[in-house]
Symmetry: C2
Subunit: 328 residues, 2 copies
Amino acid sequence: MQPIAVDVMGTDNGPTQIVAGARQAAEDLGIPVVLVGRPDALADTGSLEVVAASEVIAMGEDAASSVRRKKDASVVRAAELVRDGKASAMVCPGNTGAAMGSALLRLGRLPGVSRPAIATPLPVPGSTPTVLLDAGANAECQPGWLVQFAQMGAAYAAGRYGITTPRVGLLSIGEEDTKGSDLVKEANALLRNAAVWEGSGGTFVGNVEGRDLLSDRLDVVVTDGFTGNVVLKTLEGAMGFMRRAVVGALTATEEAAQASQHVLPLLVPLAAEMDPDSYGGALLLGVDGVCIISHGSSSSAAIVNAVRAASELVEQGLVDRLRRSVKG
Amino acid sequence: MQPIAVDVMGTDNGPTQIVAGARQAAEDLGIPVVLVGRPDALADTGSLEVVAASEVIAMGEDAASSVRRKKDASVVRAAELVRDGKASAMVCPGNTGAAMGSALLRLGRLPGVSRPAIATPLPVPGSTPTVLLDAGANAECQPGWLVQFAQMGAAYAAGRYGITTPRVGLLSIGEEDTKGSDLVKEANALLRNAAVWEGSGGTFVGNVEGRDLLSDRLDVVVTDGFTGNVVLKTLEGAMGFMRRAVVGALTATEEAAQASQHVLPLLVPLAAEMDPDSYGGALLLGVDGVCIISHGSSSSAAIVNAVRAASELVEQGLVDRLRRSVKG
């Protein structure tokens, strides 16, 4: 396997955590990794190869223009390594738009794919994650795009989590086919057509609601990129809020803290299961290559998981699965 | 004050909890209440007056046609009592669409209001709730409607929670004015116009994200009814999920349960603060009367809170505040 290309430059916090995670993936898991960035900005790269890229697209920069202008940006170079067969996947923590734009311009779309979508696994303790897409690539969507998201999401869930017949739901505001926005009603009608599912092996369970996202009766939830991104951030916010509130209540007074000292460790496994860092980040589905987009604030552990996920997706032949799913 | 009209018929669970809550509001809080429903279906109504209505619109029924067809439905009669000045507000647990339709047809819209919206308070422990609207009345929205939602939301937060200058955010997928759907970008531009806020006293803090919903730096969050409903149910689902997961982790083994018995009570106040039942239900803003829409599964405690909220909103002159906010 060609190495996983890790863009080490694009985060607000600098390359330290990213490099540490990449090294750990290489040294502990034996996954080949190549770093992409400014060599003079990197320390402690161990024995990892560094591909030099002189420019950086920062978190707040406008992605569309930066990707076109900064031809030697690390995120652009990472995509080129994949395009040229010198890397098998790209892992990009930082500016989501820049990673998307680089992948789209340098790797191109898979045949028949109208728009790539961001797929984010939502942790469901005790079960495989629910794959949410589009989690933010396309703020405005057409019904046919949602169908392709559904197909690609099913192919991804099948390959990544070994689910034979992934159950796909369409996010709406009521389970009835007649409820929801015009976009949802039209997409629902299209998804009811069994032929849609021939290439991916998925099955349509109908419209689902926000409260179903963390249930184990779904494998994939499809929505437009506006709703998907709002939902993702709402969930992240609510989980973080609850974590702080529970710890706060259990440590509010000296007495409470005393009583809680033996039970707080009981909550650690739950917190770990709910931690988005455990799931290797979001994946851009629909480009001709494996592209993982990680948080700009990724810890080294998150990078280890992202590199591991990238390598597994390459070995599982994700891109070929996606190709088949959409051509159906 | 004229009594609060409580529709006791529209829930799946029958009228028992609703009647009990209405009685408690009358007997313990001294709020005048009139029940609306089929007298033969009601027991234990105490000294409460019952206005007879022979028909019922059930939870699953199509609202638009039922409201027009069933002229003697309890929810329709409740709206008529408000229209005719015989009740000062309506409290309707059950079919949200039927409550909306009845209020819209019988009470009519406030002058200048394009579409009424559902406003739902999101619990923020340690702070006043964040008012989310539209939480589901309008799956498709126009930019100008969002402006009216913002105005009405600000007027509601000012009156209900005594906030001098309510901070209003527009839900989007990034804080920058240039991000989001076309709807959001156009609404953002309109909300930047200070004249919009003259009637409500609110102020626009710009675009906000899903993770800001439970923060104390916002009083009102505006969005379309599709996104709002998805977000609301996502939050409800996540909160319920976390509550079960935390209790599950703390009671998973005999040992854990033993260790946790003194700390579980520490979490009760938090659970109570996060319980949507504490906040009196959702409010339909933009009709010429006070209309509270409660869950179909409302407990008697939820009904007490809804009746109390209705009576406070009447006393605070909510409808006049709303009228001024939109005409502004």
